[in-house]
Amino acid sequence: MSKTRRLMCLAAATSALALAAAACGAPEEEESRGEVPAEAEDCANYEQYGSFDGETVSILGSIRDAEADEMVEAWSFFEECTGITIDYEGSGEFESDMKVRVDGGNAPDIALFPQPGLMENFADDLVPASDEVNSLATEGWSEDWLQYGTIDDTFYAPPNSGNAKSFIWYSPSFFADAGYEVPATWDELISLSDQIAADGVMPWCVGFESGGATGWPGTDWIEDIVLREGTDLYDQWVNHEIPFNDPQIVAAIEKAGEVLLNEDYIYGGTDTISSTPFQEGGYAILDGECAMHRQASFYGAMWPGGTTVAEDGDVFAFRFPESNEGDNTMLVGGEFVAAFNDSEAVEATRQFLASELYHNTRLQTGPWSTAHQGVDPANATTPINEFATEILTDPAVTVRFDGSDLMPGEVGASSFWTGMVQWVDGEKTSEQVADDIENSWPN
């Protein structure tokens, strides 16, 4: 790292740009929280991929910043040992960049799709998974996961990361001190909420504000509840086999309202939900002002500096409770690795990205979780990611992908969000909101 740094400064100095003069002495990068494990540094492990001198594979994804650095680190030895250069580009405008490039005949070799629904739009241009990638995927992931990488019975894309979304954050010590038990069913969750409220603490912290995407945390609430009414219902709902305003869905929204529209439950009052930034939504737990906050596993990285995120720390998460006894479900998110090019270097890269080696390495280069069955969850860099990876790799857990990412953009990235905002603001009833969203569903 320091070598490139010096070269950079040299480049800056020769480039005659006045700006470049600004301090070339200083800062070392923040220490990254993980590193490449020893077994992934041995080129012998990469021999099977072959050697490709000077070939470049371009990858486009929506992952940026520190997370992207950690991902790039995870494949750095693959690059070194095979000679393939991976040109990763993290885009803040992933959907539109993909569309423009694919339609313009300039698709990246590989794309990391965060939404399976979006990937389907490009089915005509995708290269199906080879037999090798197929068998790696079958070994690595459960059927539930693979169906989201499959379009019309052809398998295209194994997953990259996996995120557990059905999490409720809480303070373990607060629960222990007050003698509260982690609830296992929806009814227990409600009675626990009542008890906490009776003890004089607000049971829930909720924040839906997220700039242009305000309202999305609400969609996760509804998805969690519908999923636990039944996976069949969930599948019919996201595939629009039943209308969005089906009575069962309206009932699920009503059920979410038992918490979200309950004045006795919400810290700050229900009218603050839509204006509380989701990033800070759960912070009041740290002050003992509220008890629970529903948010995905990635929220572990959003707590203020100095917070210990662990089972015996300041905050941790438990799984969103089931409604029906015996169910074992999890709402998930993640990216899918799809290819637009069938060159051998691309094929090698696809195989590597579907391999146990990559997933195990990536798990150790920084906070991350995966559903790849071959990894050891204990390798995760943080307790919450270990917990998430344990659940995601457990074959007994039924997983379903985040519904708003599967619905058409007009709904999943637009009317569903606004509907949730109008609903928590009390502007519209559950039924009106469901009707509005149904009307926005493209024909």
Binding site: T4, L7, M8, L10, A11, A12, T14, S15, E95, S96, K99, V100, N121, E209, G211, G212, A213, T214, G268, T272, S274, S275, T276, P277, E280, P408, G409, E410, A413, S414, W417, T418, S440, P442
Partner: protein, 324 residues
């Protein structure tokens, strides 16, 4: 970034520039040949060739393609007649987009021109006029994206704790509770327009201020002797004398407003009732995969400019008559 990356880029720059010079020399030679034979049509073709080629390729063909696409379904597979236009004029979100666009193209050019004119008049002849002008002119050099970032720090909202957005801090100083500006419809539309007005007023000021200097003093003097009040002089003498400059400013700002995309993209993403045509077109075509609808929005955008084009054409005809 290392040295080879640097030489790559500047090497490419050098090669590109040399190639361009060679092309220009060749064109010049051609023009010279044609000129000698005194064939003005041929000379014109040589002069116009590079520009027309580029325009055909990069603008005319895409424009035609867009118009055709607007009659086809989302994925371009079915001819749907005017369905997309029906959608644009009936869907509540699309209608909101059209209403917003209408407000933008009325309010932004009007306010930018008016503010620019007032400011130009006020600072005319004042000590430090150039500094005054430069301060207001400054935002014109800032990209829409940069401006959006600047204004996000003005509108930024936090429900509790210290405010980091200036406007909410002012609100808090006055003892009220902070407001989520950008998420509050319909106010958010005006707040986005403020960003564009902030950029365009400087342009208006500079052009109008220069035009003011061209108004002959004698006319104003004569009006004063006739007993006209300052307001009368302003409306009946000053404004008519710089009328064409005002029109140029208004038209330029109008076209910029109509094509506005970046500010909405960077600040609200078109949510919360703030979408405008140029952004919705992008959203439909590139984010939601509705090529037909996106194309329809683009065609509506062309149509909105037609009156301006007609006005300009008539203007040109008139001037040509005057020139004779």
């Amino acid at each position: 970034m290392n040295v080879s990356q640097l030489t790559d880029r500047f090497g490419l720059l050098a090669v590109g520039l040399i190639a361009f010079v060679v092309v220009m020399l060749a064109l010049y030679g051609l023009a010279e040949l044609a000129s000698r034979r005194n064939r003005s049509r041929l000379v014109a073709s040589v002069f116009l060739f590079p520009a027309v080629l580029f325009l055909l390729l990069g603008l005319v063909y895409p424009a035609v393609r867009t118009i055709v696409m607007s009659f086809y379904s989302s994925d371009g597979s079915r001819f749907v007649w005017l369905d997309n236009y029906g959608w644009a004029l009936s869907d509540p979100d699309a209608v909101q987009t059209l209403i917003n666009t209408a407000l933008w193209i009325i309010i932004v050019p009007a306010l930018s021109t008016a503010l620019g004119l007032v400011y130009a008049v006020l600072i005319d002849g004042r000590r430090g006029e150039r500094t005054y002008k430069a301060l207001v002119f400054l935002p014109m050099g800032i990209s829409f994206v940069g401006a959006s970032i600047i204004w996000k720090f003005i509108y930024q909202y936090k429900a509790t704790g210290n405010q980091i957005g200036l406007m909410n801090q002012v609100v808090v100083w006055f003892g009220a509770s902070p407001i989520n500006w950008l998420n509050t419809f319909p106010m958010n539309n005006l707040l986005l327009m403020v960003v564009l007005i902030w950029i365009e007023v400087g342009f208006a000021t500079v052009v109008l201020s220069a035009a003011l200097k061209g108004v002959p003093l004698e006319i104003i003097e004569a009006a004063r002797i006739d007993g006209a009040s300052p307001a009368q002089i302003f409306w009946r003498v000053t404004v008519p004398s710089i009328r064409s400059a005002i029109v140029v400013v208004a038209v330029t700002v109008f076209i910029a407003t109509l094509k506005l995309f970046d500010i909405v993209r960077a600040m609200t993403g078109g949510h919360h009732g703030t979408d405008v045509l140029a952004h919705n077109m992008w959203d439909q075509a590139f984010r939601l995969g509705n090529d037909g609808r996106g194309a329809t929005m683009a065609v509506l955008l062309f149509l909105l400019v037609v009156p301006v084009v007609i006005y300009q054409v008539r203007n040109m005809r008139r001037q040509e008559l005057e020139a004779r």
